[in-house]
Every structure is written in C-alpha cells, then in structure tokens.
C-alpha cells in the first residue's frame, strides 16, 4: 500500500503543512499485551517442560519444530507489521484553530476538534510509557463519552509542548503563521498537595471500609453459627477485589498535586501511572464537596467536578478524572474553591463556604437561616427529619450554592452561566407540606445538583430568578477563548504570568466568536 499524501486525504487546501507522527515505539507500548500473548503462547510449552525437568524441546516433536517456529514468526511479523502500519498512518496536526488526527490504513478515520471548544487536556503516562519517557495526550471537547482526540504516544517533552500550544491557541494567543518560535508552557504555581499518609488514612476510613467491616462481622458470625469454615474460602475472590480497589484508589490518588496557571487548573497524580489534567478556566460545570461521617473526626473533605467530556464516573478512570481533591482539610477545600470560582460573588466567601459545609439552621420558627442559606421550612420537618435544617440554597452573584445532608454533609456549587436547564419537581407528599425540589441540569458527571424540599414560594422564586441570572451570566460571557475575557487567576499567579508572558501580549487579540 502506498503512503497516503495528507493533502490527498484531506482535500481542504487550508490544511497542508505541519502533519506529524506519534513516536514510533508507541504501538509497541500500546500493544505490548499482544506481543506478550504471542510470546506466552509459544514459550509456554517449552517452559512447562523445563519446570518438569525434561528437555527444553520435546524430542518427540522435533519434526514439527520448524512449522511451529514458522507459525510463530508469521504471527509475530503480522503483529509487528500491523503496528508499523498503524503507526505510519497515524498523523496529527494543530493548525487553523483545529486539531486533526488521521488514523487507520484500511478503515481511515479523520477527526478534527475545534480548539476553542476544548474542555480539558490530560497527559497520561502508564507505567510502561513512563519507562520509555512517553506520554498520551487526551483532548476533550464538549461531548460525553470517549475522548475527542487521543494521541498515543508522544515523547513527554513534545506532549507538554503540544499541550502548551493547544492551550495557547484555545486561549486566543495568536502567533504569526510563519513563526517558528516555540510556545512556552504557562508558568504554574502549586496550590496544594495531598500527603500520602492522609490519603492512606482517608482510604482506611472510607465508607467502603465500614461496609467491609460489617460484611466481615456478618461472615464471621455466620461461620460461628453454622460451624462451617468453608465459608471463608468463598470470600477469597471478594478479598482480592477489595484489595485491588484499594490499590487502584491509592495508585490514582498518590502524590495528588493541584496547581494554578494562566491556562487553568493543573491536577497531577498517580504512583505508577501518572496523569496530569489541565482544566482551562470556566470549564468546570459543577463542584461538589462531600464529607462522610467518619471523616468529620479529622476534618477531611473530598471534591468532585463535572467537566463536559469527562462523562459520568462509571469506570474507575472516569472516577479519578472527576476527582478534584481526593482528601483535604477545610483550608484545602477553600483554596480549591477559590481556584474553581475565583469570584464567589459574596463579600465573605470563607464564611459562606463555612456555612455551606457545616451550617445548620436554628431549630426554632425562623423563616430563613441566619447564615444566608434558605433552608427547608419547619412545616416540612417530618419529610426530612434529619436534613431539614441542613437542606438549603444560597444564590451568590456568580453561583448557586446548594447544601444538604446531615450525616453525609454535601455542598454543591453551580456557576450561573453553566446551568443548562432546570426543573421543579413536586410529588403528592411534598405538595401536602408545600415544598418542592429544584433540579439543575448539568453535563454528565458525579455531581447532581438538587435543592431538596425548599418552600414552594422560595423554590418558584429561585426558579424564576435563576433563569434570569443564568441568562445575565451568559451574556457577560462573550467568548470561549479565555484570554478574551478577564482570565480568572490567583492574584500572585496573575502577577507572575504578567511578567513572564510580556513578549506574547501584543499578539493577543480580542476575538469574540459569540
């Protein structure tokens, strides 16, 4: 098969130059399982004989050896040939506000994604790729499900460089077409990191552990009661599974570091497989802070986000990517909040977040809580005997804060301009108590914002006002390119960025695509 000229593959004249290939070793790093399987298949026999103390090659089969070897060689050649072809026909290009990837030699696939629609960029390094100094680049646009563009594998420096240039173009930094000047990575400033001890503690004190202890107690008492020890054997697969899930949580959460840069929030984590996520400003659709009851002893919280493109946290990979903070103290939570929502729209953000995390309305006949949160009216306390003093909402100038849960304390925050649609729900019981639930619809993810049991008048008022607020906030947000707006940054980073990015400033252009 002759090599395909990219200009032929893509008739569009605007996209000719700048096509690049991924690293030649990448099919082997990706497909090492296939190679290992081939090797295993052909060496198992000899290996088993060796273990049994017999000859390395079965003497009775000496006539068949050439055939076996030839077969093995053919399979190996086909696999390696496929790898080389797949590598040869994978090309990518970043130009003209698009990132394009061509793959496949029998079934060709061309993908292009608009840079200004980028929701997140991840650099992933599985262990093997890490050994070879390679990395995979994942580029998410606003579509749940699979990543829009995946480039596996690039040398790590090239991956970082590509990320910087994609982010710069997405941000609206325009460089002259002919310029060969490399775009430097935006400077970053580490905001917080999670010590391994705390991560380990948080895993040992998680809900999962409580469930396991209860399960173990049930099993032990059952075996004592039935005088049957065979029951423990049946538990072995379960124990292995539990161990694997603890290990994967530890592996994913190890060395968790959050940093802020003009390109957005950077999250890095991983023990064996490392991952670095970049969330550009304004891409976070909803945030949740949660505290399981046991964590209250240590004042720990965990945070999740909804980002378009990350999708629901169905698998462990998705769960790790939507984790904004695996475990952190309240100061960490407040710091993260200030990154996610640089302008909380209230005078005393700390006090408001505090009320959202821990606040409880007074038990008496007070219509609205003293901390600003509008809680479930007292008349509906039978509907939510535990949560009625906690369930509440507070609309600030930029976001809606929703708190709920007496035991599993939860605080959800949705920026006004990210609200997709809203619905008021009321069942017969809720109507009897004159309360209603307000559900905010956001992109798929672990955070499901819902105001529980608000009084009907308050709920309808919020429903109406929230629609207006979302409208206003969207009008203020004129561009998807965040440099075209006031970039939300931590002040000290903004100052640092202003110094280092000085040469690029004249190139910035106020492009509005709204």
């Amino acid at each position: 098969m002759s090599p395909v000229d990219p200009a032929v593959a893509l008739p569009d004249k605007a996209v000719d130059g700048g096509w690049k290939r991924v690293h030649p070793a990448s099919p082997f790093v990706r497909g090492w399982v296939a190679l290992a399987a081939v090797g295993f298949f052909f060496s198992r026999d000899a290996f088993e004989r060796m273990l049994q103390g017999r000859d390395f090659v079965d003497p009775n089969l000496s006539g068949r050896v050439p055939w076996l070897l030839a077969g093995g060689a053919v399979v190996l050649l086909l696999t390696v040939g496929g790898f080389i072809l797949s590598w040869y026909f994978t090309r990518y290009q970043v130009a003209e506000g698009f990132v394009r990837v061509n793959t496949g030699f029998l079934f060709k696939q061309q993908r292009q994604a608009r840079l200004d629609r980028v929701q997140a960029i991840d650099i992933v390094q599985p262990l093997l790729a890490r050994i070879f100094g390679l990395a995979e680049l994942k580029f998410e646009v606003a579509d749940a499900g699979e990543s829009a563009v995946r480039l596996a594998y690039l040398p790590i420096d090239q991956a970082k460089q590509l990320r910087a240039s994609i982010l710069a173009q997405a941000a609206g930094v325009v460089s002259e077409p002919g310029s060969t000047e490399e775009i430097r990575e935006a400077p970053e400033h580490v905001v917080l990191s999670v010590p391994p001890g705390r991560l380990l503690g948080s895993l040992l004190l998680s809900e999962q552990t409580v469930g396991i202890l209860i399960g173990a107690a049930v099993v032990v008492s059952a075996s004592v009661f039935l005088e049957n020890t065979a029951i423990f054997l049946a538990l072995i697969p379960g124990i292995l599974g539990i161990g694997a899930s603890y290990w994967s949580a530890f592996n994913k959460g190890y060395n968790f570091t959050a940093a802020i840069s003009p390109d957005g929030i950077r999250l890095r984590y991983g023990l064996l497989d490392t991952q670095a996520q970049t969330l550009p400003p304004g891409r976070i659709q909803a945030v949740m802070v949660r505290q399981p009851p046991i964590w209250r002893l240590f004042g720990w919280y965990r945070m999740h986000v909804n980002v378009a493109g990350y999708g629901a946290a169905g698998n462990s990979d998705g769960a790790a990517r939507t984790m904004l903070l695996p475990v952190g103290l309240k100061s960490d939570v407040l710091r993260m909040m200030s990154l996610v929502l640089p302008d909380p729209g209230v005078d005393e953000p700390a006090a408001v977040f505090n009320a959202g995390l821990e606040g409880l309305a007074p038990a008496g006949h007070v219509p609205a809580g003293t901390d600003g949160f509008v809680t479930t009216p007292r008349r509906a306390r039978l509907l939510a005997p535990l949560g009625w003093r906690r369930n509440g909402f507070l609309a600030t100038g930029t976001a809606l804060l929703i708190r709920s849960g007496r035991w599993w304390r939860t605080l959800v925050m949705v920026p006004h301009q990210r609200t997709q649609s809203m619905a008021l729900h009321q069942g017969p019981l809720a109507r009897r108590f004159a309360v209603a639930d307000l559900v905010l619809h956001t992109t798929a993810g672990p955070v499901i914002p819902r105001v529980f049991q608000a009084g009907v008048t308050e709920a309808v008022e919020l429903f109406d006002q929230q629609a207006a607020r979302a409208r206003e906030a969207r009008k203020r947000q004129t561009s998807e390119q965040w440099l075209a707006q006031v970039a939300p940054q931590a002040p000290e980073v903004a100052a640092a960025a202003a110094q280092t990015e000085e040469p690029q400033t004249p190139n910035q252009e106020d492009r509005h695509d709204g």
Binding site: R283, H441, A467, G514
Partner: protein, 170 residues
Amino acid sequence: MPTEAIDPPGVQWLRVSPKYVTVRLVEWAIGNVLLVAVLSLPLVFVLLGWWRWPPLWLAIAVPAVMLLLALWRLALIPRQVRAIGYAERDDDLLIRRGIFFQRTMVVPYGRMQYVDVAVGPVERSLGLCTLKLHTASTGTNAQLPGLPAQEGARLREQLSARGEARLAGL
C-alpha cells in the same frame, strides 16, 4: 387549566392536542391488556383443572389487582394529557407535566444543542408529532409529545432560530 403552585406566576400555558389521548390509549392497551391477559392464564388453567397450584383466590387476585391498576392508569390518561403544557417566553421554553408528580422545566434557548421531531405510527395517523429538546446535559429530558404536526414544525423552526440567536458555549 389552573396554574399549579410550582408554576411560575403569570405564565399562559399552551396545551398539547387532545388527540394525544388516543396515542396514550393505544400505548396503554398494548402494555396493560397484554399484561393482564398473560397474568390471567393461570386462572384459566386452574379453572380448567390443568393446574393444581396456585390456589383459586391467588389466581383471581393477581390479575384483578393488575386490572384495577390498569384501569386506574386508564382513568388518569386524559388528565395527564391535559396536564402537559408548554410556554414560549422571551429567553426560554417552559414545559410542565404531571398531576401527582409534577414537573416544571425551563430550557433556555441559548442552551439548546439541537431539536428533534419524532413521529410514531399512531401519531402519524393522527397528524401528531413529538418534539425533543437536547442540551449538553443528559438530565434535560425535555419532551413535548402530542403536538399537531404543523405546530411541531413551527416550534422546531422557532426554537432553532431563537437558539441560534442566543447560542452560548457550554
């Protein structure tokens, strides 16, 4: 129709076509008549003496309860259809439904990604269609069933035009 407590004040609701009741009746018949028929089979077998189990009272009670539930659902259909309403406001579309479990939803025009019009066989014979709005959120389950085909087409064009004018990113 009287405005319910959770509806925003001052909204003039537009109703869907009363012919949509027929669509719901057909759906009800397909689902419930079959179910009750299948559940009645043991009763027939017991009466014919083919089966010794279940006892007669159980064989009667199960399909009877299901029949009652089905009839209850049947009686609700006209009211449920009357409870579906929509209202076009300047910047968003309101959709409401439900009698016992009510839902009022607001979908901003600028948030609509695309608008679907679907027509099933029963709907086509009655000249109706179902309008579906999609936003970036999977939680937006905004459906307007039982619209007259003309109104559906008008609404689709109207919503697309308004969506384009107010289109915002995510």
